[in-house]
Amino acid sequence: MLHDFIVWVESQWGVGQTIFQRSFSDALEQSWNFWSLVEGTHVLTLMLFFGTIMMVDLRLMGLTFRQTPVSVLSERLLKLTVVAFLILVATGVLLFFAKAEDYYHNFWFRIKMILLVAAMINIYVFHKVVQKNQAEWDTAPSPPMKAKVSGLLSLAAWCVIIAAGRFVPYPDYHCGTPQPEWVNAFANCAESSKGAARLDGSIIGAEGY
């Protein structure tokens, strides 16, 4: 059902209401500059997002700003991180909207989304569990192990999210290209318009599916 909705959004929504009778999604994807500006904004905003969250995570790991209370660093930097995150989400939604079916069935995009959820869970656990007794270790040059682990997991997750995002447009692991069965299953390629191509050359699904 979700796949059908995504296909409708990409191919039908807005048809007849835009120039050249394209859907809103196609109009965005085929725009002269707008899509490029959205994509460029998405990538460049990571300078602010990753740059600030990296410093907070490194502090949690006791690797920098060891004389600065964790609460001070967090309070000053995380405002900037949140602003950047909101820009990333807004531009990310637009980018997905422009090529919805492709991204929905993209191996690396799914990895990116799973890790995004994992990063959010890590943030939640940090606030609910790790931060409970922060007053005891706020000024410690080397925070306790649970804080270090939280910082390390956060930094690792965002690095892999960035990597996965960079891999999305490359043809490796795209539906329609011959690949292992588990990749086809993970990306639900059989449901996609390009189908699930197996290593033996056969294809399940594809146009007319």
Partner: protein, 287 residues
């Protein structure tokens, strides 16, 4: 207009003698090997950029008088410099690898030319201006001021190229928006709200004009109107951002704990790296 026509379009125009060398690199086994791991190299190129950006943002915001104000600029520099150095090393090394695997494309790319010119400005700014100024908590020796003039001139040249090259100039939007974010971060109260509302209105009118009013027709003349609208609004928004940045630098509507020189260093150091990054991203879009 004549001045714009003599501006170079790429490295091939400036250094045509390198063509045989570029062709040799492009057909080499090293180029092919690096090309097979292009995406992986790009990941490290981006991570290096984001790492150095984190350091620069913290140092520069502090120079402007906002951000981590509990620490001195010299303390922030000491705590972040290793990540700056690692980030710069990563972008340079991976940049060489990317260039080796993509020699012809970059040799003929105007965006790459802009990126390299602004990179020179960024390196000079970072190591000969921002670093000594931060280490001295805002005090600036004569060397730093001279270096800043050179870096600003080189950066200005890269911006002139960026603005003037058809197909590349939409990328200026990223520098404009980065400048806008810095103004929002460094102004207070009514000044901030006036800036934000004015910019939001301009962006809204711009988008309405180019995506509805001017998009109504398929006639060729509509393209001229579309391009003219883009130019007018880009310059309008740019002037708006610049005006409020100057207000902030001169201490109106923002923190007054830093000198105009420190604030100029702070603004320019971040925006020159944004120029490098934006030009880099537009290598793919402007070709």
């Amino acid at each position: 207009m004549m001045l714009l026509q003599i501006l170079p379009d790429n490295f091939e125009q400036i250094l045509p003698a390198l063509r045989p060398w570029v062709d040799t690199i492009g057909s080499s086994a090293v180029s092919e090997a690096l090309g097979s791991v292009f995406a992986e190299i790009e990941v490290f190129h981006l991570l290096g950029l984001f790492m150095l950006a984190g350091s620069m943002i913290l140092v520069c915001l502090r120079l402007i008088g906002v951000g981590l104000v509990e620490e001195s600029a010299s303390s922030i520099w000491r705590n972040t410099r290793v990540f700056l150095h690692i980030g710069v090393a990563m972008v340079l090394i991976t940049g060489l690898m990317i260039g080796t695997s993509n020699a012809d494309k970059l040799y003929t790319s105007v965006a790459f030319l802009v990126k390299m010119i602004s990179l020179v400005a960024a390196i000079i700014f970072t190591y000969l201006v921002t670093a000594p100024v931060a280490k001295a908590d805002g005090a600036a020796g004569g060397q730093a001021k001279i270096a800043m003039i050179f870096a600003l001139l080189i950066w200005a040249f890269s911006l002139v190229l960026f603005i003037s090259k058809v197909g590349l100039n939409p990328g200026m939007f990223h520098i404009l928006m980065a400048g806008a974010l810095m103004v929002l971060a460094t102004t207070l109260g009514k000044t901030r709200w006036t800036f934000a509302i004015g910019l939001a209105l301009a962006l809204l009118v711009w988008q309405v004009l180019t995506h509805t009013v001017l998009a109504e027709t398929e006639a060729p003349e509509s393209l001229d109107a579309y391009m003219l609208t883009n130019k007018v609004f880009m310059y309008l928004c740019g002037a708006w951002v610049l005006a409020f940045a100057l207000l902030s630098i001169l201490g109106k509507g923002g923190p007054r704990t830093s000198t105009a020189f420190m604030k100029t260093v702070g603004y320019a150091s971040v925006l020159v790296w944004v120029t490098v990054a934006a030009a880099g991203r537009w290598i793919a879009f402007a070709s």
